[in-house]
């Protein structure tokens, strides 16, 4: 192997910035490597990757010192256009990277611009390599997130680059889509010898796919190590905002020094070490630790004689949309559902299963074509969406769409002040305090970090004092720490509302927050179960197109029943044979 990227004493400062974004970076990457670049926000990961295709310093002209050689070419002497045939770059917000209306045009765009007469073959080949040839004539806005991501990747692949950089591949696609993308990248790496560089927050993907890891901190690499060695430095990674994968945490919880890369590896290690279920871990013990909404005073187990107040009732609901061709595309048919006070519902299912549609119907933003929805006893067809907003708050998937005013405070205040609530100002203060955004109240929501933006939308929803809170993908595109803070926030806020529904692909959110999971698929409700029941049934997992959290999968692999839903539960559930014996002796 030879070095394809050589960076020597590179420093860079953006124009007008106070300090260097990259400081004295020395780094060598071998051809054929699969590198994960990790590090906290503002550690210079993205800037580093933008030096590879010459965007720094040719597009972003700042103070540039040192030398970057890509495939032997000094980037300072070259140009973005020339370097682009060697380095392909897929952005985090890849949707904005797509500039042509149809998939094929999009993929042919690069080769055509460079005057390559074989552009059509290149595009066809790139699509076939990624298995998206059947999408060639689709409009780009018809694609699902995962498909759009593969299209963006294909469009850089058509240039036949030797290096591909992917910025945070997991951020905006569901877990199944992210795994699919990583599988494709692995194939490009192994079969075609393309060097792959990913910027990644999620330790489980790094452990599973990367060959080597570069840890960035404050504009410089701390180290560049082979993946297994990097994974073993769990504590150091955690201090840079990258918590260990759950399977590593599971081993650590049992004082085992091991860094398994996959659930199977972890299961093998733990079996050898003699991990077994504690006697105290029974179904009853779990029931005691299941969360539920504070306002619920009745047992959350759903029985036919459930007396809890129904908040939203859907009966025989059918709905669909018109396509561009004019046909009616059915999304839901004959859905019956009752959301009761105290419910914490997670809606799961593949893309297009109707999660967002169902939520829009439940909050009265839309009315069903067939059947009826009753919200707080009001038929949504008999009232207006603006009236129903007093009963249900719907949080859009992209937070910036909810920032209508120039400060968070104004946004939170908009609804209660508009509805002439006397205590509007006090309410706004209380809500902002509750989501811990009082210090940021006068900033525009768009200038906040991802996690803060989500909390701001929660504040907007809470200030509407709804009975039912609905949130679309509240943890999407957040790094691990921000995601955990949003889950914790949802947990704390449950006292303020009667029932909450979230549509999500995030199984950590399902495992740690929900009391009830509704699996949508094939136009209806496939299952209405507890998270534990969902994760215990392979048929359901398949139907819902979800991947259980690593810790739950590991628990099942080891035959632990009920399987743990969080690392905390894992610690209660599992012990090593001899360690357990020692504890009994001590007792």
């Amino acid at each position: 192997m030879s070095a394809i990227i050589e960076i020597d004493r590179l420093s860079f400062r953006y124009p007008g910035a106070e300090r260097d974004s990259l400081r004295n970076v020395c780094l060598t990457i071998e051809e054929g490597d699969f590198v994960a670049v990790i590090g906290g926000n503002g550690s210079g990961k993205t800037t580093l990757c933008k030096t590879l295709n010459g965007l720094v310093p040719h597009y972003w002209e700042g103070d540039f010192a040192g030398e970057v050689r890509v495939d032997g070419v000094d980037t300072y002497e070259s140009s973005v256009a020339a370097l682009s045939s060697t380095v392909g770059y897929v952005y985090q917000d890849f949707q904005n990277q797509l500039v042509r209306p149809r998939v094929r045009d999009e993929i042919e765009f690069g080769p055509t611009n460079f005057g390559m007469s074989d552009y059509a073959e290149r595009a066809q080949q790139a699509m076939e390599m990624l298995g998206i040839a059947h999408l060639a004539d689709r409009f780009v806005w018809q694609l699902s997130g995962g498909q759009a991501h593969l299209t963006a990747l294909a469009s850089v692949l058509a240039m036949r680059p030797r290096i591909i950089v992917v910025d945070e591949p997991v951020a905006e696609v569901d877990p199944a889509g992210a795994h699919a993308l990583y599988e494709r990248l692995t194939e490009l790496n192994q079969v075609h010898g393309i060097t792959v560089i990913v910027i990644e927050h999620h330790a489980e993907f790094i452990a599973q796919y990367a060959k080597s890891v570069v840890l960035m901190d404050d504009g410089a690499p701390v180290w560049h190590l082979p993946a297994p060695q990097a994974a073993a430095r769990a504590a150091e990674l955690a201090s840079h905002g990258i918590p260990a994968p759950q399977i590593v945490a599971a081993c650590e919880g049992l004082d085992l020094a091991a860094a398994p890369r996959t659930v199977e590896e972890a299961a093998a290690v733990l079996r050898t070490a003699g991990a077994r279920q504690r006697d105290s871990w029974t179904a009853d013990a779990v029931a005691g630790s299941v969360p539920r909404l504070a306002s619920s005073e009745v047992d959350p187990a759903r029985t036919d004689g459930d007396e809890r107040r129904p908040v939203a009732v859907a009966s025989a609901v059918s709905h669909g949309y018109r396509s561009v061709a004019g046909d009616l595309l059915p999304v839901l048919s004959g859905v019956d559902l009752t959301i009761r006070a105290g419910d914490r519902v997670a809606l799961v299912g593949g893309n297009g299963a109707g999660k967002s549609t169902l939520m829009r119907l439940l909050c009265g933003l839309q009315v069903p074509r067939g059947g009826s929805v009753t919200l707080d006893g009001i038929d949504t067809k008999k009232s207006s969406a603006t009236r129903l907003a007093e009963h249900a708050a719907y949080l859009f998937q992209r937070p910036e769409q909810m920032f209508l005013k120039d400060s968070i405070r104004a946004d939170v205040r908009l609804f209660p002040a508009g509805r002439k609530r006397d205590d509007a100002d006090a309410l706004v203060d209380r809500v902002l305090d509750r989501v811990r955004l009082s210090d940021f109240a006068d900033r525009d929501g768009r200038t906040l970090s991802g996690g803060q933006q989500r909390r701001a939308t929660l504040a907007i929803g809470l200030a509407m004092t709804p009975s039912l809170l609905l949130a679309d993908e509240p943890t999407a595109s957040l790094d691990v720490a921000s995601r955990d803070s949003v889950i914790a926030m949802l947990d704390e806020l449950s006292g303020a509302i009667a029932a909450a529904v979230v549509a999500t692909h995030d199984m950590h959110l399902v495992a740690e927050w929900a009391t009830r999971v509704i699996v949508l698929g094939g136009g209806g409700v496939l299952a209405d179960v507890t998270p534990l029941e969902l994760f215990s049934s392979d048929a359901l997992l398949e139907g819902a197109r979800v991947v259980p959290p690593q810790i739950t999968a590991l628990g099942r692999a080891l035959g632990i029943s009920p399987a743990p839903l969080s690392v905390a539960q894992w610690r209660e559930a599992v012990a090593l044979t001899d360690a357990a014996a020692r504890m009994e002796v001590r007792a």
Binding site: N53, L55, Y59, V80, A81, S84, Y89, Y91, D93, Q95, N96, Q97, V99, R100, P101, R102, D105, F109, G110, T112, N113, F114, G115, M116, F139, W141, V156, H319, Y321, R322, S323, V324, A325, L365, Q366, V367, P368, R369, T380, K381, K382, S384, A385, T386, A389, F396, E400, Q401, M402, F403, L404, L414, F415, A417, G418, R419, K420, D444, R446, M464
Partner: protein, 268 residues
């Protein structure tokens, strides 16, 4: 009061109609043609009505473009907007003639100009509904239009459904969260509020879009857009076929026929 999901005259419908119109998804005669020939065809019909004052010729030309619009399968939204404009123009023509003391000749003169405008409008509707943005921008390229203009046309169309969707979402947010009030006389106050929200919706949309456009611009740079060596490759995709020649020939014959008709037949 009872709400229901509407398939026409709703925001969703307008969005779909815009997409259908922009990308010529209904097909139609001109959608199969070479864009350069479609533009030529349009230019012919855009010029000839101004070469005559003969009402019969103008009516014949109007008939010709009306048939063309039907063959182009123009959608209900665009056609509806056209009809509203056409009918109000006519009403205005008669109204103006009457108010200012004109006689039937003044009215006829105004009808003539209205018909000429309608003819040109129908021709442009038929042509541009049939050109999808890729074809239009390649056609412009073939005629030596700057690369940037050609791309702008294509990218503008690409952004349109996204911006419309974004507008819909932000507007919904404003409608649900803003202060409500009485509807007022003939719903005037409600209308005023809706107007205000429509304007206010642009603030978040501009900011949200500005952020995403940065990625687009960088990505264009990396994909050789400014290298611009693709002009010849794109133009090479165009082909003028038998259909193109036939349509233009038939149109020319029909135009000559209209002028002949005007020479033979006279009204009043």
């Amino acid at each position: 009061m009872s709400r229901k999901t509407r398939d026409v005259l709703s925001v969703e419908w307008v969005k779909l109609e815009l997409i259908r119109t922009a990308y010529a998804t209904r097909g139609g005669l001109f959608a199969k043609m070479d864009p350069r020939m479609v533009i030529s065809w349009y230019l012919i019909l855009a010029v000839v009505p101004w070469l005559t004052h003969d009402l019969v010729t103008i009516i014949a030309l109007f008939g010709l473009t009306a048939v063309s619009a039907a063959l182009a399968r123009v959608g209900p939204l665009v056609l509806g907007l056209f009809l509203i404009g056409f009918v109000t123009d006519f009403a205005y023509a008669f109204g103006a003639a009457w108010v200012f003391g004109g006689d039937h000749e003044t009215a006829l003169a105004l009808v003539e100009i209205t018909l000429k405008l309608a003819t040109v409008s129908l021709a442009s509707i038929a042509a541009f509904v049939s050109l999808d943005p890729e074809e239009l921008s390649t056609g412009l390229l073939a005629w030596k239009a700057p690369e940037l203009l050609a791309f702008g046309v294509s990218y503008g169309y690409r952004m349109m459904p996204i911006l419309f969707e974004e507008f819909g979402t932000v507007f919904t947010g404003l409608r649900l969260r803003s202060p409500q009030g009485p509807r007022g006389f003939l719903g005037m106050r409600a209308l005023w509020r809706w107007g205000t929200w429509a304007v206010q919706a642009f603030y978040p949309i501009f900011l949200n879009t500005a952020k995403s456009v940065r990625t687009t611009v960088e990505s264009l740079e990396t994909r050789g857009f400014t290298a611009a060596q693709g002009r010849e490759l794109r133009i090479a995709q165009l082909r003028i076929g038998a259909l193109d020649v036939a349509v233009v020939a038939v149109t020319l014959v029909a135009v000559v026929g209209a002028f002949e008709l005007g020479a033979v037949v006279t009204i009043a």
